[in-house]
Chain length 330, copies 2
Protein backbone atom coordinates (compact mmCIF):
# COMPACT_ATOMS: atom_id res chain seq x y z
CA UNK A 1 0.00 0.00 0.00
CA UNK A 2 1.36 3.36 -0.99
CA UNK A 3 -0.47 6.43 0.17
CA UNK A 4 0.72 9.39 -1.90
CA UNK A 5 3.29 11.34 0.09
CA UNK A 6 1.95 14.80 -0.53
CA UNK A 7 2.16 16.60 2.80
CA UNK A 8 0.85 19.79 1.26
CA UNK A 9 -2.13 18.28 -0.58
CA UNK A 10 -5.06 20.64 -0.16
CA UNK A 11 -8.77 20.13 -0.61
CA UNK A 12 -8.49 22.59 -3.50
CA UNK A 13 -6.20 20.11 -5.27
CA UNK A 14 -8.87 17.43 -4.97
CA UNK A 15 -11.54 19.82 -6.17
CA UNK A 16 -9.63 21.24 -9.16
CA UNK A 17 -11.07 18.82 -11.72
CA UNK A 18 -14.66 19.18 -10.51
CA UNK A 19 -14.63 22.93 -9.89
CA UNK A 20 -17.41 23.77 -12.44
CA UNK A 21 -19.65 21.06 -10.98
CA UNK A 22 -19.10 22.42 -7.46
CA UNK A 23 -20.40 25.71 -8.80
CA UNK A 24 -23.55 23.88 -9.90
CA UNK A 25 -23.85 22.37 -6.44
CA UNK A 26 -23.90 25.84 -4.94
CA UNK A 27 -26.53 26.98 -7.44
CA UNK A 28 -28.61 23.93 -6.55
CA UNK A 29 -28.26 24.65 -2.84
CA UNK A 30 -29.43 28.22 -3.34
CA UNK A 31 -32.46 26.99 -5.27
CA UNK A 32 -33.32 24.38 -2.63
CA UNK A 33 -33.24 26.63 0.42
CA UNK A 34 -34.91 29.65 -1.17
CA UNK A 35 -37.87 30.78 0.89
CA UNK A 36 -40.36 33.56 0.49
CA UNK A 37 -39.85 34.55 4.09
CA UNK A 38 -37.43 37.28 5.16
CA UNK A 39 -36.07 35.69 8.36
CA UNK A 40 -35.30 32.44 6.54
CA UNK A 41 -33.62 34.35 3.69
CA UNK A 42 -31.42 36.15 6.21
CA UNK A 43 -30.39 32.89 7.84
CA UNK A 44 -29.79 31.34 4.41
CA UNK A 45 -27.45 34.16 3.41
CA UNK A 46 -25.45 33.63 6.56
CA UNK A 47 -25.34 29.86 6.04
CA UNK A 48 -24.07 30.25 2.48
CA UNK A 49 -21.43 32.74 3.64
CA UNK A 50 -20.19 30.36 6.34
CA UNK A 51 -20.32 27.56 3.78
CA UNK A 52 -17.73 24.98 4.58
CA UNK A 53 -15.16 23.20 2.55
CA UNK A 54 -17.74 21.26 0.54
CA UNK A 55 -15.92 18.05 1.37
CA UNK A 56 -19.06 15.88 1.24
CA UNK A 57 -20.31 17.25 -2.11
CA UNK A 58 -16.79 16.68 -3.44
CA UNK A 59 -17.07 13.02 -2.47
CA UNK A 60 -20.49 12.71 -4.13
CA UNK A 61 -19.11 14.08 -7.40
CA UNK A 62 -15.95 11.98 -7.27
CA UNK A 63 -17.94 8.80 -6.51
CA UNK A 64 -20.20 9.71 -9.41
CA UNK A 65 -17.27 10.11 -11.80
CA UNK A 66 -15.55 6.99 -10.47
CA UNK A 67 -18.60 4.91 -11.42
CA UNK A 68 -19.50 5.97 -14.96
CA UNK A 69 -20.41 9.62 -14.37
CA UNK A 70 -20.53 12.60 -14.60
CA UNK A 71 -24.28 12.04 -14.39
CA UNK A 72 -26.90 14.77 -14.72
CA UNK A 73 -28.14 14.39 -11.13
CA UNK A 74 -24.73 14.44 -9.39
CA UNK A 75 -24.86 18.13 -8.45
CA UNK A 76 -28.42 17.79 -7.09
CA UNK A 77 -27.53 14.87 -4.85
CA UNK A 78 -24.34 16.65 -3.74
CA UNK A 79 -26.40 19.70 -2.80
CA UNK A 80 -28.86 17.56 -0.82
CA UNK A 81 -25.97 15.97 1.09
CA UNK A 82 -24.54 19.38 1.97
CA UNK A 83 -28.02 20.57 3.05
CA UNK A 84 -28.31 17.62 5.43
CA UNK A 85 -24.80 18.38 6.69
CA UNK A 86 -25.75 22.03 7.28
CA UNK A 87 -28.93 20.98 9.10
CA UNK A 88 -26.92 18.80 11.49
CA UNK A 89 -24.35 21.58 12.08
CA UNK A 90 -27.10 24.05 12.91
CA UNK A 91 -28.70 21.62 15.36
CA UNK A 92 -25.32 20.62 16.82
CA UNK A 93 -24.58 24.25 17.55
CA UNK A 94 -28.04 24.62 19.08
CA UNK A 95 -27.50 21.53 21.24
CA UNK A 96 -24.03 22.66 22.32
CA UNK A 97 -24.95 26.35 22.61
CA UNK A 98 -21.86 27.04 20.49
CA UNK A 99 -21.24 30.65 19.53
CA UNK A 100 -18.59 30.18 16.87
CA UNK A 101 -18.25 27.82 13.90
CA UNK A 102 -15.40 28.19 11.38
CA UNK A 103 -14.56 31.51 12.98
CA UNK A 104 -18.03 32.93 12.27
CA UNK A 105 -20.95 33.39 14.64
CA UNK A 106 -23.37 30.45 14.72
CA UNK A 107 -27.08 30.78 13.89
CA UNK A 108 -27.95 30.56 17.57
CA UNK A 109 -25.47 33.32 18.41
CA UNK A 110 -26.48 35.59 15.54
CA UNK A 111 -30.23 34.98 15.54
CA UNK A 112 -31.46 32.89 18.45
CA UNK A 113 -31.58 29.43 19.83
CA UNK A 114 -35.18 29.17 18.66
CA UNK A 115 -34.27 30.12 15.11
CA UNK A 116 -31.52 27.52 15.00
CA UNK A 117 -33.79 24.65 16.08
CA UNK A 118 -36.43 25.65 13.52
CA UNK A 119 -33.86 26.34 10.80
CA UNK A 120 -32.31 22.88 11.16
CA UNK A 121 -35.79 21.41 10.66
CA UNK A 122 -36.33 23.68 7.68
CA UNK A 123 -33.10 22.59 5.97
CA UNK A 124 -33.68 18.92 6.63
CA UNK A 125 -37.26 18.95 5.39
CA UNK A 126 -36.16 20.82 2.26
CA UNK A 127 -33.58 18.09 1.65
CA UNK A 128 -36.37 15.49 1.84
CA UNK A 129 -38.55 17.56 -0.51
CA UNK A 130 -35.69 17.58 -3.04
CA UNK A 131 -35.08 13.86 -2.71
CA UNK A 132 -38.78 13.21 -3.33
CA UNK A 133 -38.62 15.42 -6.41
CA UNK A 134 -35.55 13.46 -7.54
CA UNK A 135 -37.79 10.43 -7.23
CA UNK A 136 -35.30 7.63 -6.54
CA UNK A 137 -36.43 5.70 -3.47
CA UNK A 138 -32.92 4.25 -3.02
CA UNK A 139 -31.44 7.73 -2.45
CA UNK A 140 -34.23 8.43 0.03
CA UNK A 141 -33.64 5.12 1.79
CA UNK A 142 -29.89 5.75 2.13
CA UNK A 143 -30.25 9.28 3.44
CA UNK A 144 -33.21 8.59 5.75
CA UNK A 145 -31.18 5.81 7.37
CA UNK A 146 -28.11 8.06 7.59
CA UNK A 147 -29.93 10.98 9.20
CA UNK A 148 -31.51 8.66 11.72
CA UNK A 149 -28.09 7.17 12.52
CA UNK A 150 -26.71 10.66 13.03
CA UNK A 151 -29.32 11.42 15.70
CA UNK A 152 -28.32 8.24 17.51
CA UNK A 153 -24.70 9.41 17.24
CA UNK A 154 -25.68 12.70 18.84
CA UNK A 155 -27.29 10.78 21.70
CA UNK A 156 -24.10 8.74 22.12
CA UNK A 157 -22.15 12.00 22.22
CA UNK A 158 -24.29 13.25 25.10
CA UNK A 159 -23.39 10.15 27.09
CA UNK A 160 -19.69 10.13 26.21
CA UNK A 161 -18.51 12.03 29.22
CA UNK A 162 -17.13 9.29 31.44
CA UNK A 163 -13.62 8.41 30.29
CA UNK A 164 -13.26 5.58 32.74
CA UNK A 165 -16.26 3.89 31.13
CA UNK A 166 -15.84 5.05 27.52
CA UNK A 167 -14.11 2.40 25.41
CA UNK A 168 -12.62 2.38 21.93
CA UNK A 169 -15.57 0.25 20.77
CA UNK A 170 -18.01 2.85 22.02
CA UNK A 171 -15.94 5.58 20.40
CA UNK A 172 -16.11 3.68 17.11
CA UNK A 173 -19.89 3.41 17.36
CA UNK A 174 -20.06 7.13 18.09
CA UNK A 175 -17.95 8.29 15.16
CA UNK A 176 -19.57 5.83 12.76
CA UNK A 177 -22.99 7.24 13.59
CA UNK A 178 -22.04 10.88 14.01
CA UNK A 179 -19.63 11.38 11.11
CA UNK A 180 -18.92 8.32 8.99
CA UNK A 181 -22.59 7.62 8.22
CA UNK A 182 -23.10 10.80 6.18
CA UNK A 183 -19.70 10.54 4.46
CA UNK A 184 -20.55 6.95 3.57
CA UNK A 185 -23.98 8.10 2.36
CA UNK A 186 -22.31 10.78 0.21
CA UNK A 187 -20.11 8.19 -1.51
CA UNK A 188 -23.03 5.75 -1.88
CA UNK A 189 -25.53 8.17 -3.46
CA UNK A 190 -22.74 9.38 -5.74
CA UNK A 191 -22.60 5.83 -7.08
CA UNK A 192 -26.36 5.46 -7.44
CA UNK A 193 -26.11 4.77 -11.16
CA UNK A 194 -23.44 2.08 -10.73
CA UNK A 195 -23.88 -1.69 -10.30
CA UNK A 196 -24.75 -2.60 -6.72
CA UNK A 197 -21.31 -4.11 -6.09
CA UNK A 198 -19.56 -0.79 -6.82
CA UNK A 199 -22.14 1.14 -4.84
CA UNK A 200 -21.48 -1.00 -1.77
CA UNK A 201 -17.72 -0.69 -2.21
CA UNK A 202 -18.08 3.09 -2.20
CA UNK A 203 -20.38 3.00 0.84
CA UNK A 204 -17.74 1.01 2.74
CA UNK A 205 -14.93 3.25 1.46
CA UNK A 206 -16.89 6.27 2.73
CA UNK A 207 -17.47 4.76 6.14
CA UNK A 208 -13.78 3.99 6.64
CA UNK A 209 -12.72 7.37 5.28
CA UNK A 210 -15.29 9.04 7.53
CA UNK A 211 -13.95 7.31 10.62
CA UNK A 212 -10.41 8.41 9.75
CA UNK A 213 -11.74 11.93 9.14
CA UNK A 214 -13.29 12.11 12.61
CA UNK A 215 -10.23 10.64 14.34
CA UNK A 216 -8.06 13.31 12.68
CA UNK A 217 -10.61 15.92 13.74
CA UNK A 218 -10.32 14.73 17.31
CA UNK A 219 -6.52 14.70 17.02
CA UNK A 220 -6.53 18.27 15.72
CA UNK A 221 -8.41 19.27 18.84
CA UNK A 222 -5.33 18.18 20.80
CA UNK A 223 -2.69 19.59 18.47
CA UNK A 224 -4.44 22.51 16.82
CA UNK A 225 -2.73 25.74 16.03
CA UNK A 226 -5.42 28.30 16.92
CA UNK A 227 -4.31 30.62 14.10
CA UNK A 228 -5.19 27.88 11.59
CA UNK A 229 -8.28 26.24 13.09
CA UNK A 230 -9.87 29.33 14.62
CA UNK A 231 -10.25 27.53 17.93
CA UNK A 232 -7.93 26.81 20.84
CA UNK A 233 -6.70 23.27 21.46
CA UNK A 234 -8.30 21.18 24.16
CA UNK A 235 -11.83 22.35 23.39
CA UNK A 236 -13.20 18.82 23.62
CA UNK A 237 -11.66 18.36 27.07
CA UNK A 238 -13.09 21.71 28.12
CA UNK A 239 -16.53 20.32 27.19
CA UNK A 240 -15.67 17.00 28.86
CA UNK A 241 -15.73 15.17 25.54
CA UNK A 242 -13.59 12.05 25.57
CA UNK A 243 -11.98 11.14 22.26
CA UNK A 244 -9.57 8.51 20.98
CA UNK A 245 -6.21 10.06 22.07
CA UNK A 246 -7.39 10.11 25.68
CA UNK A 247 -8.91 6.63 25.49
CA UNK A 248 -5.53 5.30 24.29
CA UNK A 249 -3.38 7.21 26.76
CA UNK A 250 -5.54 6.77 29.87
CA UNK A 251 -4.35 3.27 30.90
CA UNK A 252 -0.79 4.67 31.07
CA UNK A 253 -1.68 7.71 33.19
CA UNK A 254 0.02 7.88 36.59
CA UNK A 255 -2.28 8.04 39.63
CA UNK A 256 -1.69 11.80 39.91
CA UNK A 257 -2.39 12.33 36.19
CA UNK A 258 -5.61 10.36 36.56
CA UNK A 259 -6.61 12.50 39.56
CA UNK A 260 -5.93 15.66 37.50
CA UNK A 261 -8.16 14.32 34.72
CA UNK A 262 -10.93 13.44 37.17
CA UNK A 263 -10.75 16.91 38.67
CA UNK A 264 -11.00 18.47 35.20
CA UNK A 265 -14.08 16.37 34.39
CA UNK A 266 -15.73 17.42 37.65
CA UNK A 267 -15.03 21.08 36.96
CA UNK A 268 -17.80 22.68 34.86
CA UNK A 269 -15.36 25.37 33.71
CA UNK A 270 -11.87 23.92 33.71
CA UNK A 271 -8.96 26.37 33.70
CA UNK A 272 -6.61 26.58 30.71
CA UNK A 273 -3.74 25.18 32.79
CA UNK A 274 -5.80 22.15 33.84
CA UNK A 275 -6.61 21.41 30.20
CA UNK A 276 -3.01 21.94 29.08
CA UNK A 277 -1.80 19.47 31.72
CA UNK A 278 -4.12 16.70 30.51
CA UNK A 279 -3.26 17.46 26.86
CA UNK A 280 0.41 17.07 27.82
CA UNK A 281 -0.24 13.77 29.60
CA UNK A 282 -2.08 12.40 26.56
CA UNK A 283 0.88 13.37 24.34
CA UNK A 284 3.48 11.99 26.76
CA UNK A 285 1.78 8.61 26.91
CA UNK A 286 1.58 8.25 23.13
CA UNK A 287 -2.18 8.84 22.77
CA UNK A 288 -1.68 11.12 19.78
CA UNK A 289 0.62 8.74 17.90
CA UNK A 290 -1.60 5.78 18.59
CA UNK A 291 -4.68 7.65 17.32
CA UNK A 292 -2.77 8.76 14.23
CA UNK A 293 -1.77 5.12 13.62
CA UNK A 294 -5.39 4.10 13.83
CA UNK A 295 -6.40 6.78 11.30
CA UNK A 296 -3.63 5.59 8.99
CA UNK A 297 -4.74 1.98 9.21
CA UNK A 298 -8.29 3.02 8.38
CA UNK A 299 -7.01 4.97 5.37
CA UNK A 300 -5.11 1.91 4.14
CA UNK A 301 -8.24 -0.18 4.51
CA UNK A 302 -10.21 2.41 2.53
CA UNK A 303 -7.53 2.39 -0.14
CA UNK A 304 -7.89 -1.35 -0.59
CA UNK A 305 -11.57 -0.83 -1.36
CA UNK A 306 -10.66 1.62 -4.10
CA UNK A 307 -8.71 -1.19 -5.78
CA UNK A 308 -12.07 -2.87 -6.45
CA UNK A 309 -13.22 0.00 -8.67
CA UNK A 310 -12.34 0.54 -12.35
CA UNK A 311 -9.27 2.66 -13.03
CA UNK A 312 -10.36 6.26 -13.49
CA UNK A 313 -8.94 9.69 -12.75
CA UNK A 314 -11.73 10.18 -10.18
CA UNK A 315 -10.67 7.00 -8.38
CA UNK A 316 -7.16 8.39 -8.06
CA UNK A 317 -8.57 11.64 -6.67
CA UNK A 318 -10.53 9.59 -4.12
CA UNK A 319 -7.22 7.94 -3.24
CA UNK A 320 -5.67 11.38 -2.80
CA UNK A 321 -8.58 12.38 -0.55
CA UNK A 322 -7.25 9.83 1.95
CA UNK A 323 -3.98 11.74 2.08
CA UNK A 324 -5.85 15.00 2.46
CA UNK A 325 -7.84 13.60 5.39
CA UNK A 326 -4.71 12.33 7.14
CA UNK A 327 -2.59 15.42 6.53
CA UNK A 328 -5.04 18.24 6.98
CA UNK A 329 -4.20 20.83 9.59
CA UNK A 330 -7.70 22.24 10.05
CA UNK B 1 -76.13 23.70 6.69
CA UNK B 2 -76.83 21.74 9.84
CA UNK B 3 -73.93 21.00 12.14
CA UNK B 4 -75.01 18.27 14.54
CA UNK B 5 -76.05 19.87 17.82
CA UNK B 6 -74.20 17.54 20.16
CA UNK B 7 -72.67 19.76 22.79
CA UNK B 8 -71.28 16.77 24.62
CA UNK B 9 -69.70 15.02 21.65
CA UNK B 10 -66.33 13.66 22.73
CA UNK B 11 -63.33 12.51 20.74
CA UNK B 12 -64.05 9.06 22.16
CA UNK B 13 -67.41 9.10 20.35
CA UNK B 14 -65.62 9.76 17.05
CA UNK B 15 -63.10 7.05 17.76
CA UNK B 16 -65.57 4.35 18.88
CA UNK B 17 -65.91 2.72 15.46
CA UNK B 18 -62.16 2.69 14.76
CA UNK B 19 -60.97 1.72 18.24
CA UNK B 20 -59.28 -1.56 17.15
CA UNK B 21 -57.43 0.21 14.34
CA UNK B 22 -56.20 2.89 16.77
CA UNK B 23 -54.72 0.03 18.77
CA UNK B 24 -52.85 -1.01 15.63
CA UNK B 25 -51.63 2.57 15.21
CA UNK B 26 -50.10 2.45 18.67
CA UNK B 27 -48.45 -0.89 17.92
CA UNK B 28 -47.05 0.59 14.71
CA UNK B 29 -45.75 3.65 16.58
CA UNK B 30 -43.98 1.43 19.09
CA UNK B 31 -42.34 -0.54 16.30
CA UNK B 32 -41.24 2.61 14.46
CA UNK B 33 -39.56 4.37 17.35
CA UNK B 34 -37.90 1.34 18.89
CA UNK B 35 -34.19 1.92 19.35
CA UNK B 36 -31.41 -0.22 20.71
CA UNK B 37 -30.22 2.66 22.83
CA UNK B 38 -31.23 3.12 26.46
CA UNK B 39 -31.63 6.92 26.53
CA UNK B 40 -33.87 6.85 23.44
CA UNK B 41 -35.95 4.01 24.92
CA UNK B 42 -36.45 6.05 28.09
CA UNK B 43 -37.59 9.08 26.11
CA UNK B 44 -39.85 6.86 23.97
CA UNK B 45 -41.56 5.44 27.04
CA UNK B 46 -42.27 8.94 28.28
CA UNK B 47 -43.55 10.04 24.86
CA UNK B 48 -45.93 7.09 24.65
CA UNK B 49 -47.18 7.80 28.18
CA UNK B 50 -47.86 11.45 27.38
CA UNK B 51 -49.46 10.30 24.10
CA UNK B 52 -52.15 12.74 23.10
CA UNK B 53 -55.67 12.37 21.92
CA UNK B 54 -54.66 10.72 18.63
CA UNK B 55 -56.77 13.23 16.75
CA UNK B 56 -54.61 13.19 13.62
CA UNK B 57 -54.42 9.37 13.35
CA UNK B 58 -58.21 9.35 13.81
CA UNK B 59 -58.54 11.62 10.79
CA UNK B 60 -56.23 9.40 8.71
CA UNK B 61 -58.34 6.33 9.49
CA UNK B 62 -61.65 8.12 8.89
CA UNK B 63 -60.42 9.57 5.57
CA UNK B 64 -59.28 6.07 4.65
CA UNK B 65 -62.71 4.57 5.42
CA UNK B 66 -64.52 7.45 3.72
CA UNK B 67 -62.71 6.67 0.44
CA UNK B 68 -63.02 2.92 0.01
CA UNK B 69 -61.02 1.72 3.03
CA UNK B 70 -60.25 0.26 5.52
CA UNK B 71 -56.98 -0.31 3.66
CA UNK B 72 -54.08 -2.38 4.93
CA UNK B 73 -51.71 0.58 5.21
CA UNK B 74 -54.03 2.96 7.07
CA UNK B 75 -52.60 2.25 10.51
CA UNK B 76 -49.02 2.66 9.25
CA UNK B 77 -49.69 6.05 7.70
CA UNK B 78 -51.62 7.14 10.80
CA UNK B 79 -48.65 6.17 12.97
CA UNK B 80 -46.26 8.14 10.72
CA UNK B 81 -48.51 11.21 11.00
CA UNK B 82 -48.55 10.96 14.79
CA UNK B 83 -44.75 10.51 14.82
CA UNK B 84 -44.33 13.72 12.82
CA UNK B 85 -46.77 15.43 15.19
CA UNK B 86 -44.76 14.21 18.21
CA UNK B 87 -41.51 15.41 16.60
CA UNK B 88 -42.93 18.91 16.17
CA UNK B 89 -44.27 18.96 19.75
CA UNK B 90 -40.87 17.96 21.11
CA UNK B 91 -39.13 20.69 19.09
CA UNK B 92 -41.84 23.26 19.93
CA UNK B 93 -41.26 22.60 23.61
CA UNK B 94 -37.52 22.89 23.06
CA UNK B 95 -37.97 26.18 21.19
CA UNK B 96 -40.34 27.58 23.84
CA UNK B 97 -38.46 26.10 26.80
CA UNK B 98 -41.84 24.75 27.95
CA UNK B 99 -41.82 22.61 31.08
CA UNK B 100 -45.32 21.14 30.89
CA UNK B 101 -47.35 19.58 28.07
CA UNK B 102 -50.75 17.97 28.72
CA UNK B 103 -50.02 18.25 32.44
CA UNK B 104 -46.85 16.14 32.15
CA UNK B 105 -43.23 17.27 32.15
CA UNK B 106 -41.81 17.92 28.66
CA UNK B 107 -38.78 16.09 27.30
CA UNK B 108 -36.64 19.18 27.84
CA UNK B 109 -37.80 19.44 31.45
CA UNK B 110 -37.42 15.73 32.22
CA UNK B 111 -34.25 15.00 30.26
CA UNK B 112 -32.59 18.10 28.80
CA UNK B 113 -32.85 20.68 26.14
CA UNK B 114 -30.17 18.82 24.18
CA UNK B 115 -32.09 15.56 24.33
CA UNK B 116 -35.27 17.23 23.07
CA UNK B 117 -33.57 18.76 20.00
CA UNK B 118 -31.96 15.43 19.12
CA UNK B 119 -35.10 13.43 19.91
CA UNK B 120 -37.22 15.55 17.57
CA UNK B 121 -34.72 14.82 14.82
CA UNK B 122 -34.79 11.13 15.71
CA UNK B 123 -38.59 10.93 15.50
CA UNK B 124 -38.78 12.86 12.25
CA UNK B 125 -36.06 10.83 10.54
CA UNK B 126 -37.78 7.60 11.68
CA UNK B 127 -41.00 8.85 10.10
CA UNK B 128 -39.13 9.36 6.82
CA UNK B 129 -37.56 5.89 7.10
CA UNK B 130 -41.06 4.41 7.48
CA UNK B 131 -42.44 6.38 4.54
CA UNK B 132 -39.57 5.14 2.38
CA UNK B 133 -40.32 1.58 3.48
CA UNK B 134 -43.99 2.18 2.60
CA UNK B 135 -42.66 3.11 -0.82
CA UNK B 136 -45.33 5.49 -2.13
CA UNK B 137 -43.64 8.67 -3.35
CA UNK B 138 -46.96 10.56 -3.13
CA UNK B 139 -47.15 10.04 0.64
CA UNK B 140 -43.54 11.20 0.90
CA UNK B 141 -44.26 14.24 -1.24
CA UNK B 142 -47.29 15.25 0.85
CA UNK B 143 -45.54 14.88 4.18
CA UNK B 144 -42.21 16.41 3.12
CA UNK B 145 -44.12 19.48 1.95
CA UNK B 146 -46.16 19.55 5.15
CA UNK B 147 -43.18 19.30 7.49
CA UNK B 148 -41.42 22.05 5.59
CA UNK B 149 -44.52 24.24 5.83
CA UNK B 150 -44.64 23.62 9.56
CA UNK B 151 -41.11 24.97 10.00
CA UNK B 152 -42.13 28.12 8.14
CA UNK B 153 -45.14 28.33 10.47
CA UNK B 154 -42.80 28.15 13.44
CA UNK B 155 -40.76 31.01 11.99
CA UNK B 156 -43.97 33.04 11.54
CA UNK B 157 -44.81 32.31 15.18
CA UNK B 158 -41.49 33.77 16.29
CA UNK B 159 -42.31 37.01 14.50
CA UNK B 160 -45.95 37.22 15.62
CA UNK B 161 -45.36 39.40 18.61
CA UNK B 162 -46.44 42.82 17.41
CA UNK B 163 -50.25 43.08 17.63
CA UNK B 164 -50.35 46.46 16.01
CA UNK B 165 -48.75 44.97 12.92
CA UNK B 166 -50.18 41.43 13.04
CA UNK B 167 -53.20 41.11 10.77
CA UNK B 168 -55.87 38.45 10.31
CA UNK B 169 -54.26 37.54 6.97
CA UNK B 170 -50.93 36.94 8.68
CA UNK B 171 -52.67 34.97 11.40
CA UNK B 172 -54.28 32.81 8.70
CA UNK B 173 -50.90 32.15 7.07
CA UNK B 174 -49.50 31.25 10.48
CA UNK B 175 -52.20 28.74 11.47
CA UNK B 176 -52.33 27.22 7.98
CA UNK B 177 -48.61 26.48 8.16
CA UNK B 178 -48.35 25.60 11.85
CA UNK B 179 -51.47 23.49 12.35
CA UNK B 180 -53.72 23.08 9.31
CA UNK B 181 -50.95 21.72 7.07
CA UNK B 182 -50.44 18.51 9.07
CA UNK B 183 -54.19 17.99 9.64
CA UNK B 184 -54.70 18.45 5.90
CA UNK B 185 -51.83 16.03 5.23
CA UNK B 186 -53.45 13.49 7.59
CA UNK B 187 -56.72 13.61 5.66
CA UNK B 188 -54.92 13.52 2.31
CA UNK B 189 -52.67 10.52 3.00
CA UNK B 190 -55.72 8.75 4.47
CA UNK B 191 -57.26 9.06 1.00
CA UNK B 192 -54.17 7.92 -0.87
CA UNK B 193 -56.00 5.00 -2.47
CA UNK B 194 -58.90 7.17 -3.68
CA UNK B 195 -59.31 8.97 -7.02
CA UNK B 196 -57.40 12.26 -7.10
CA UNK B 197 -60.60 14.30 -6.91
CA UNK B 198 -61.58 12.77 -3.56
CA UNK B 199 -58.03 13.05 -2.27
CA UNK B 200 -57.97 16.79 -2.99
CA UNK B 201 -61.41 17.25 -1.40
CA UNK B 202 -60.11 15.63 1.77
CA UNK B 203 -56.93 17.72 1.70
CA UNK B 204 -59.04 20.88 1.53
CA UNK B 205 -61.46 19.58 4.18
CA UNK B 206 -58.45 18.95 6.46
CA UNK B 207 -57.01 22.40 5.91
CA UNK B 208 -60.28 24.13 6.80
CA UNK B 209 -60.88 21.82 9.76
CA UNK B 210 -57.29 22.44 10.90
CA UNK B 211 -57.75 26.21 10.80
CA UNK B 212 -60.93 25.92 12.86
CA UNK B 213 -59.07 23.61 15.26
CA UNK B 214 -56.32 26.17 15.84
CA UNK B 215 -58.75 29.08 16.24
CA UNK B 216 -60.62 27.11 18.92
CA UNK B 217 -57.27 26.32 20.53
CA UNK B 218 -56.47 30.01 20.65
CA UNK B 219 -59.96 30.76 21.99
CA UNK B 220 -59.55 28.16 24.73
CA UNK B 221 -56.42 29.99 25.81
CA UNK B 222 -58.68 32.96 26.61
CA UNK B 223 -61.54 31.03 28.15
CA UNK B 224 -59.86 27.95 29.55
CA UNK B 225 -60.86 26.39 32.80
CA UNK B 226 -57.49 25.44 34.29
CA UNK B 227 -58.95 22.31 35.92
CA UNK B 228 -59.84 21.00 32.44
CA UNK B 229 -56.95 22.16 30.28
CA UNK B 230 -54.16 21.82 32.80
CA UNK B 231 -53.00 25.34 32.06
CA UNK B 232 -54.12 28.80 33.17
CA UNK B 233 -55.88 31.11 30.73
CA UNK B 234 -53.97 33.90 29.07
CA UNK B 235 -50.83 31.83 28.53
CA UNK B 236 -50.44 33.12 24.97
CA UNK B 237 -50.60 36.72 26.18
CA UNK B 238 -48.07 35.90 28.87
CA UNK B 239 -45.72 34.76 26.06
CA UNK B 240 -46.70 37.80 23.96
CA UNK B 241 -48.39 35.62 21.36
CA UNK B 242 -51.09 37.48 19.46
CA UNK B 243 -54.04 35.37 18.31
CA UNK B 244 -57.35 35.93 16.57
CA UNK B 245 -59.51 37.13 19.51
CA UNK B 246 -57.06 39.97 20.17
CA UNK B 247 -56.70 40.82 16.48
CA UNK B 248 -60.48 41.17 16.26
CA UNK B 249 -60.95 43.15 19.49
CA UNK B 250 -57.97 45.48 19.18
CA UNK B 251 -59.54 48.11 16.87
CA UNK B 252 -62.26 48.61 19.50
CA UNK B 253 -59.88 49.01 22.45
CA UNK B 254 -60.05 52.35 24.26
CA UNK B 255 -56.80 54.37 24.41
CA UNK B 256 -56.23 53.22 28.00
CA UNK B 257 -56.90 49.56 27.11
CA UNK B 258 -54.42 49.85 24.26
CA UNK B 259 -51.83 51.34 26.63
CA UNK B 260 -52.40 48.45 29.05
CA UNK B 261 -51.82 45.96 26.21
CA UNK B 262 -48.65 47.75 25.11
CA UNK B 263 -47.34 47.71 28.66
CA UNK B 264 -48.03 43.96 28.90
CA UNK B 265 -46.16 43.31 25.66
CA UNK B 266 -43.16 45.31 26.89
CA UNK B 267 -43.10 43.39 30.15
CA UNK B 268 -41.05 40.18 29.88
CA UNK B 269 -42.95 38.71 32.85
CA UNK B 270 -46.42 40.21 32.90
CA UNK B 271 -48.38 39.98 36.16
CA UNK B 272 -51.56 37.87 36.37
CA UNK B 273 -53.66 41.01 36.85
CA UNK B 274 -52.21 42.62 33.71
CA UNK B 275 -53.10 39.53 31.70
CA UNK B 276 -56.58 39.26 33.22
CA UNK B 277 -57.27 42.90 32.28
CA UNK B 278 -56.40 42.36 28.61
CA UNK B 279 -58.36 39.07 28.54
CA UNK B 280 -61.36 41.03 29.89
CA UNK B 281 -60.95 43.77 27.26
CA UNK B 282 -60.85 41.19 24.47
CA UNK B 283 -64.07 39.62 25.80
CA UNK B 284 -65.81 42.98 26.29
CA UNK B 285 -65.13 44.04 22.73
CA UNK B 286 -66.47 40.83 21.22
CA UNK B 287 -63.12 39.30 20.20
CA UNK B 288 -64.13 35.88 21.51
CA UNK B 289 -67.50 35.79 19.76
CA UNK B 290 -66.03 37.02 16.53
CA UNK B 291 -63.31 34.35 16.61
CA UNK B 292 -65.91 31.70 17.41
CA UNK B 293 -67.97 32.90 14.43
CA UNK B 294 -64.94 32.54 12.20
CA UNK B 295 -64.32 28.98 13.42
CA UNK B 296 -67.97 28.16 12.77
CA UNK B 297 -67.85 29.54 9.24
CA UNK B 298 -64.74 27.47 8.55
CA UNK B 299 -66.52 24.38 9.86
CA UNK B 300 -69.47 25.03 7.56
CA UNK B 301 -67.10 25.39 4.64
CA UNK B 302 -65.44 22.09 5.56
CA UNK B 303 -68.86 20.46 5.81
CA UNK B 304 -69.68 21.50 2.26
CA UNK B 305 -66.58 19.66 1.07
CA UNK B 306 -67.81 16.49 2.76
CA UNK B 307 -70.88 16.66 0.54
CA UNK B 308 -68.62 15.90 -2.41
CA UNK B 309 -67.70 12.49 -0.97
CA UNK B 310 -69.74 9.28 -1.27
CA UNK B 311 -72.17 8.62 1.57
CA UNK B 312 -70.46 6.46 4.19
CA UNK B 313 -70.54 6.07 7.95
CA UNK B 314 -66.97 7.40 8.07
CA UNK B 315 -68.03 10.54 6.21
CA UNK B 316 -70.68 11.17 8.89
CA UNK B 317 -68.05 10.71 11.58
CA UNK B 318 -65.85 13.26 9.79
CA UNK B 319 -68.89 15.56 9.87
CA UNK B 320 -69.20 14.96 13.59
CA UNK B 321 -65.49 15.76 14.01
CA UNK B 322 -66.36 19.33 13.04
CA UNK B 323 -68.73 19.53 15.98
CA UNK B 324 -66.08 18.05 18.24
CA UNK B 325 -63.56 20.65 17.11
CA UNK B 326 -65.98 23.52 17.72
CA UNK B 327 -67.31 22.27 21.03
CA UNK B 328 -64.21 20.92 22.70
CA UNK B 329 -63.31 22.39 26.05
CA UNK B 330 -59.65 21.35 26.07
Amino acid sequence: MTLPQLGSLSLGDLQAAIEPRLGQVETEMRRMIEADFPLISDVNEHLLRMRGKMFRPTLVLLADEATGGPSAHGATLAAVIELIHLATLVHDDAVDHSVLRRGMPTINALFSHQVSVIMGDFLYSRAVVELVRFGDLRALAILARVTNEMTIGEMRQLLAHDPLAFTEDQYDLLIKAKTASLISGACEVGALGAPERERLVLARFGETLGMAFQIVDDLLDYTADESLTGKPSGLDLREHKVTLPLIYALPRFSPSERRALEALLRNPQPADAEIAAVVASVATHGGLEQARDRAQRLAMQAEEDLGLLPETAARETLRASLTYVLERRR
